[in-house]
């Protein structure tokens, strides 16, 4: 069988190396080879956003990225959001607002919201709803998520 492709990348600030098959997605690499279980597979076709990560400052679905494409790139996953025991403001506000129930969508929402606030620190409710339209949640009805993101945005701006 094939030996696999050697990939050097950077994940949450740390250099990482792995071997993967040509047809292996980055989502599968993160979960099955690197033990980073935050990103989830919901649909596998880029519709649900549960596998969202940030790749070189672009929010993407890791189910639609090949592992081999990570060569020389920078990857941010939900595992990089908290600093030790200190939760990221988005994580803290998701807890306070009960913006999650089953939790499957939550890592994707957190990463998508982090990307949104990095590009737009003071979004309107509409901008949040459009910005997070690629993330599906079947539990919360989204209102609590939107409020958590608004609240976190206030905290992060120091408002």
């Amino acid at each position: 069988m094939m030996a696999g492709i050697a990939v050097s990348t950077n994940i949450n600030g740390d250099n990482a190396e792995f071997l993967c098959h040509a047809d292996e997605t980055l989502l599968d690499v993160l979960r099955d080879r690197l033990g980073l279980m935050g990103a989830k597979e919901g649909c596998g076709t880029g519709d649900c956003g549960a596998c969202s990560i940030i790749l070189d400052d672009c929010l993407v679905c890791s189910c639609l990225v090949l592992g081999a494409e990570a060569e020389g790139r920078r990857i941010e996953t939900v595992e990089g959001m908290a600093q030790g025991d200190q939760l990221h403001p988005l994580q803290q506000k998701f807890l306070e607002h009960a913006a999650l129930q089953c939790g499957i969508c939550t890592p994707g929402f957190l990463i998508a919201a982090k990307d949104l606030l990095a590009k737009n620190p003071d979004p309107t409710e509409e901008e949040i709803r459009f910005g997070l339209a690629g993330n599906l949640c079947r539990c919360t009805g989204y209102d609590k998520i939107v409020r958590a993101v608004q609240d976190a945005a206030d905290v992060m701006r120091g408002a």
Binding site: I5, T25, T45, V60
Partner: protein
């Protein structure tokens, strides 16, 4: 399956030509990977073009913009000069899928996927965009509307790659716009779409126009009759009604779960009016 990341367009074309139909070009992957996972295609070779430096940039020159084939649609939205010159093209690219999809998908991919409902294609056709094609026997440049020839089919020859989309330098008093009808406000596929590109004279009279419709025929339609109706007008009500009638008449839609023939015809006219007005307003501001 093998994965190769060539660093030059010549190498990419060579690999593609050599593989004789068993290779797929990977840029954003938002169509390709979905199709591979669904078992619709099983390429033996994936040629990732994102390491080819020239394909990764938007460059502006005296003659206009060159948008490399590997530039994600999100990056189009972040380019202030492009947004100012071609707001209709940018808004169409930023309607494709979600933020996650826009972080990956490319306008060249959207064009080569050859969906009749592709969002960026009507805007590119209205803009008079050209595709710069590289193949085993050299380069050629063709109008964007000549690339798709039917659902899922393009006019590209074996071994050919579109390396960039070319947009002209903007004339003064010009504007373009794109809108689509979808049941949802986002993350949806156009049932009908329209793009209009106008240049006005200093009296606000339309000097030249291009009108394109999406999702109402096997390929995007360039409606020349509609452009003739707009030319010489200031978009008065009578002109807009004639525009709507011409656009409705040009449609050759199908009935499907997203819309009936009758609905698509009607909405094509309504959208064409709205989009023409949006383009006119933008042109008047410059």
């Amino acid at each position: 399956m093998r994965y190769i990341r060539p660093s030059s367009i010549e190498d990419a074309v060579g690999l593609l030509a050599e593989a004789s139909g068993k290779a797929a070009v990977l840029a954003g992957g938002s169509d390709l990977l979905v199709r591979m996972k669904g078992g619709f295609i099983e390429p033996e070779l994936i040629i990732d073009i994102k390491a080819i430096d020239a394909l990764r940039h938007i460059t502006e020159s005296e003659v206009g913009f060159v948008i490399g084939a590997a530039v994600p649609c999100a990056v189009l939205g972040e380019n202030a000069a492009l947004r100012r010159a071609w707001p209709g093209v940018v808004e169409s690219a930023n309607l494709i899928g979600s933020k996650q999809v826009q972080g990956r998908c490319t306008i060249v991919g959207n064009l080569c996927n050859a969906s009749p409902a592709a969002d960026s294609v009507p805007a590119l056709v209205a803009a008079g965009a050209k595709a710069l094609i590289r193949g085993p026997v050299g380069s050629r440049t063709i109008a964007v509307e000549l690339v798709p020839v039917g659902p899922g089919k393009t006019s590209l020859a074996p071994g050919e790659i579109i390396e960039a989309i070319l947009l002209d330098k903007r004339q003064p008093r010009s504007g373009d716009a794109y809108q689509r009808f979808t049941p949802r406000t986002e993350m949806d596929i156009a049932v009908v779409s329209a793009a209009v590109n106008l240049t006005l004279d200093d009296q606000g009279v339309v000097q030249s126009a291009r009108v394109a419709l999406g999702a109402v025929a096997p390929t995007v339609l360039l409606v020349e009759e509609a452009a003739e109706i707009l030319t010489g007008s200031r978009l008065d009500d009578e002109t807009l009604d004639r525009l709507a009638a011409a656009c409705s008449g040009a449609c050759r839609p199908i009935d499907d779960k997203r819309g009936t023939v009758e609905f698509r015809r009607k909405v094509a006219g309504v959208l064409a009016k709205r989009v023409a007005l949006a383009a006119y307003q933008r042109a008047g501001q410059k």
